[in-house]
């Protein structure tokens, strides 16, 4: 990926020099060899900071919201999952397509930084689970594409719901206990929400504690209320980028809940893969006369 870093820098530099965008959002190296982090470049000479390596897991799409009301265009680098996230933001009408310049990448899968720290430099580091399961490694919607427009990673034929099914096979008590064990440790730091591209409400109900809907107290029931509400609020728009789970400081398996809902949406409303088609209608964003309506 080393040489692609150079292409990436050159592309960013050209964009800034030609004034095609005011700023380029990409990645740069963090404090450790296994950490890459978001970089916001607005001077051509600073493009030297940009990198493209197997730790560029951070989904940059959501940052675009910070600049939606600013003058000018912002350019952003996207992997497959980031590109799906960006599509969701466009579908949600949170962004104007003409205000962003999208530079697509072909993603070989990102390495798990937690494992990297554990195993050490030089050892073989496994990919993130979501990357092993990823079916759309290439950017889907872009103005430029960097690298070769071909799949550089093995693609599973289907989404893997085996963990969801394992969970479903438990008894109600077992399910509940698992749920409690996970959400007992939630800090309610909202990192999962704040990093999530599908969590794009202007004002989140969990920031409106005066409304009485939710309380800031940290206890299992409030935490579960948060988890379930968030899962349902992103239903049909969660692209499976896994950022919520990666962001969680106490490693709650948030994706399990997301996948359960993706599976159910597939079953109830027909197969749907969020963010793969920017023109698609959201499964929960409208209704059909054939929709199930068991509780209405």
């Amino acid at each position: 990926m080393e040489d692609l870093t150079l292409v990436l820098r050159r592309t960013a530099k050209e964009i800034l020099e030609k004034g095609e965008a005011q700023m380029v959002i990409g990645w740069e190296k963090g404090a450790f060899w296994y950490s890459s982090t978001s970089a916001f470049i607005s001077k051509p000479e600073d493009t030297e900071r940009l990198i493209w390596d197997e730790y560029c897991v951070n989904n940059l799409a959501k940052y675009l919201l910070d600049y939606r009301h600013k003058e000018g265009k912002v350019a952003v680098f996207v992997k497959g999952c980031d590109s799906r996230a960006l599509n969701v933001l466009l579908q949600d009408k949170q962004l104007k397509r003409e205000k962003i310049l999208i530079i697509g990448l072909a993603c070989p899968g990102m390495k798990d930084e937690v494992e990297a720290r554990k195993l050490g430099r030089g050892s073989s580091i496994p990919l993130y689970k979501k990357c092993r399961e990823c079916r759309y490694p290439n950017a889907l919607n872009y103005d430029f594409f960097i690298g070769e427009d071909k799949v550089i990673k093995e693609i599973p034929a289907q989404d893997d719901f085996s963990e969801v099914q394992a969970l479903e096979s438990l008894s109600p008590d077992e399910k509940y206990n698992k749920f409690v064990a996970n959400y007992e440790r939630c800090l309610r730091c909202y990192a999962c929400r704040n990093i999530c591209p599908a969590c794009n409400c202007r004002e989140c109900i969990f920031d409106r504690t005066a409304s009485g809907w939710s309380s800031k107290a940290n206890n299992v029931s409030e935490n579960m209320f948060f988890a379930l509400t968030r899962a349902l609020h992103v239903a049909g728009r969660c692209v499976g980028c896994g950022e919520c789970e990666r962001a969680c400081p106490v490693n709650i398996p948030i994706m399990l809940l997301n996948k359960k809902i993706i599976q159910d949406i597939n079953a109830l409303f027909g197969e749907y893969e969020a963010g793969t088609d920017v023109t698609a209608k959201l499964p929960l964003g409208g209704f059909e006369f054939t929709d199930p309506e068991e509780f209405m």
Partner: protein, 330 residues
């Protein structure tokens, strides 16, 4: 030095449990934290806990008092408070330092926070020295001794097969007296402390920050921040709280809970005015508080070098690099 075989730690903790409510660092699902000791629980020796022990003194949610409102009457009821001596085993130097910071906040400047004080006073602390700093640790750069935590009642040392103990305070001596039958005297030299990877140079930073409120650095640094509460919630020194209530009919409980200056709603005022409306102001407040405001007010940094914030930050905001950037800023 008094020593015991590590394999005998269980007996030691069991013996202490007869006198104290004991809490120890443990690995648990997805994270690690201090937990009440139960016979047989495995004490975590490698590295510090992901969740700091501050919650032992300043819980994330803490009930303060009860109340009852019937018609136009209002009654306040004080809640039972847990009593009895507690012992925290395995607190690291950075987290000991954080208690020093929290003591300043909660016990000085005219008002005493009784909730904190009550917990602080009934707790003896056995600190555990670090020989091998974690990858994100930088306490030594802030002048701490990773092996000997200032303020602890007992220093414990990880000496491989054995654990060494040295009493520092009277309360600590009492703890070791209790363990007389479990400890033996033996000469031991402390192993050398391993190399730190992160070495921010903090000298001069608080003073320099005084003139940097309007620096363009803040806007740049803040761009990547998500304004979540992860860094402040895992930080052993962050102490901001909110006060709210849980009401069930006529009865209710007033509680306080951790809050974070990273949240937008934190400083929101009536009429829509917010003195810290964007990421820039919030991020600036966090680092200014840690590196300038707190030193101005209490004469110490509000950072202990525990490295937890840079460990958990989903976008790798790194206080050591920010210290460096402040140093280099024009």
């Amino acid at each position: 030095m008094l020593v015991a075989q590590k394999a005998k730690l269980r007996e030691i903790l069991n013996a202490l449990s007869e006198e104290y409510q004991v809490a120890v660092p443990v690995q648990r699902e997805g994270t690690s934290a201090f937990e009440l000791y139960r016979d047989g629980i495995e004490v975590m020796f490698n590295g510090n806990t992901s969740i700091s022990p501050k919650g032992m003194f300043f819980p994330q949610t803490e009930k303060m008092y009860g109340f009852k409102t019937v018609k136009n009457t209002t009654e306040f009821v004080s809640l039972p408070v847990e009593q009895g001596k507690r012992l925290l085993f395995g607190v690291r130097s950075c987290d000991m330092k954080s208690l020093d910071c929290l003591d300043q906040v909660f016990l000085t400047k005219g008002y005493i926070d009784e909730f904190y004080k009550q917990k602080r006073e009934r707790t003896v602390i056995v600190a555990l020295g670090c020989n091998e700093p974690g990858e994100t640790c930088f306490c030594a750069s802030l002048g701490l001794d990773p092996q000997k935590a200032a303020g602890a009642d007992v220093h414990a040392y990880d000496l491989g097969e054995v654990i060494g103990f040295e009493a520092v305070t009277e309360a600590g001596q009492k703890v070791l007296d209790l363990l007389k039958n479990h400890l033996r005297e033996q000469q031991f030299a402390l192993p050398p402390v391993g190399e730190f990877y992160l070495k921010p140079e903090v000298a001069g930073v608080p003073e320099k920050l005084k003139g940097m409120f309007e620096s363009p650095l803040w806007e740049e640094i803040a761009r990547k921040c998500l304004n979540c509460g992860a860094c402040t919630y895992v930080c052993p020194t962050c102490h901001c709280f909110d006060i709210s209530q849980d009401v069930r009919g006529e009865k209710g409980i007033k509680y306080r809970c951790w809050d974070s200056c990273m949240f937008g709603e934190y400083t929101q005022m009536a009429g829509g005015h917010n003195p810290r409306p964007t990421k820039k102001e919030r991020v600036r407040n966090r680092f200014m508080h840690k590196l300038n405001y707190f030193p101005e007010r209490y004469n110490m940094l509000l950072c202990t070098g525990c490295g937890r914030c840079l460990d958990v930050c989903p976008v790798k905001m790194d206080i050591t690099s920010i210290i460096q950037q402040i140093k280099e800023a024009k």
